[in-house]
């Protein structure tokens, strides 16, 4: 049992590739992806996001990361369409770097709050300083 991570992007390939990177680091953390429109075009789909959240939620909560603002609109709509009592947090974090930090925190058993904090914390870290 761990916090679930959902990756929302305008491109299916983007989140598929990101999930591959994350699974290598933490094979045990549940990662849901919702990329592209229902037709697989560039865009997002509230229904896809809803399914992705439901698929990874096992009660510990779900941290949602997204690429662009219009993905957030659909993600918030997805949340409203869900009847479950899921704890869902939309992270104010870059999708790739934030998800990397999030998945590591989730992997060591962090709470939803800790996972979100890790994701959001990457904004203040210099990418050029040599942590990698």
């Amino acid at each position: 049992m761990s916090v679930g991570i959902v990756l929302v992007s305008h491109s299916h390939e983007l989140v598929k590739g990101l999930a591959d990177i994350l699974s290598q680091v933490q094979p045990d953390v549940k990662i849901g992806i919702a990329g592209g429109t229902e037709e697989g075009d560039i865009g997002t789909s509230a229904f896809k996001i809803k399914s992705a959240i439901e698929a990874v939620d096992d009660g510990e909560g779900v941290a949602v990361l997204f690429d662009l603002g219009s993905a957030l609109l659909n993600a918030e709509l997805a949340q409203e369409m869900m009847d479950s009592e899921s704890k869902i947090v939309f992270c104010d974090a870059p999708i790739v770097e934030g998800a990397y930090a999030a998945v590591i925190e989730a992997g060591i058993g962090g709470s939803l709050e800790e996972v979100v904090q890790s994701a959001e914390g990457v904004k203040t870290v210099s990418k050029l300083a040599g942590q990698n």
Partner: protein
């Protein structure tokens, strides 16, 4: 307006969206990602396909169907925005089979609230709200305004987005460079309302 009138309205919106598909995408290409026409055309075509066989006289139920289809099919920001608008309007018209003008205004106002809640934008941000909000204020305050005048005012609101600097949506990335182009979402909203007023003329006559 009854359910049939609403259906007719939606179908006409679709026709005009299909006609203006390239134009809408072109506007979006200038200050966004160039897909607004494609998004709206895909969404409304599917809406029309689905409501074709819709029998229930409940206007709320019809609009709910419209909303869910737009949410599923549009793909861009306009999907959840128009989707939420129709969803909120559907809430107001739930169980209603004959919709008065004041019902309609109330439903559209709820729709606007939905758009604002969803997109966190305000008047002046160069979004569809710049059509919805002034138009609905005017109509609510002066319910007697002629349809012709409402149409002219809708066009004015749409035109007014040209000189605005985008603060929300993709166009906001362009800052001042977004000035000079109409907001594509305002144009699709113009189509929505202009077609509505044409329909109300028909209903009235």
């Amino acid at each position: 307006m009854n359910q049939e009138d609403f259906k007719k309205w939606i179908k006409q919106v679709n026709e005009r969206i299909q006609e203006q598909k390239e134009y809408l995408s072109e506007l979006d290409g200038a200050i966004g990602d160039g897909d607004h026409g494609v998004n709206m055309a895909r969404g409304f075509q599917e809406v029309v396909n689905r409501i074709e066989t819709f029998e229930n006289p409940d206007i709320g139920a019809l609009l709910q169907q419209v909303a869910m289809t737009l949410i599923g099919k549009v793909g861009g920001a306009s999907g959840p925005l128009y989707g939420t608008a129709f969803l909120k309007a559907a809430g107001v018209l739930k169980g209603v089979t004959e919709c008065t003008q004041s019902d309609l205004i109330l439903a559209l106002e709820e729709g606007l609230k939905g758009i604002k809640m969803r997109g966190k934008a305000e008047v002046g941000d160069k979004t569809m709200i710049d059509v919805w909000e002034p138009l609905l204020s005017k109509w609510k305050e002066n319910p007697e305004t002629s349809l012709k005048e409402l149409k002219a005012f809708t066009a004015e609101c749409m035109e007014g987005t040209r000189h605005l600097e985008a603060k929300k949506g993709r166009a906001a990335y362009l800052g001042k460079r977004s000035i000079g182009t109409l907001d594509p979402g305002s144009v699709s909203s113009y189509i929505l309302f202009d077609t509505l007023f044409s329909n109300l003329e028909d209903v009235a006559s």
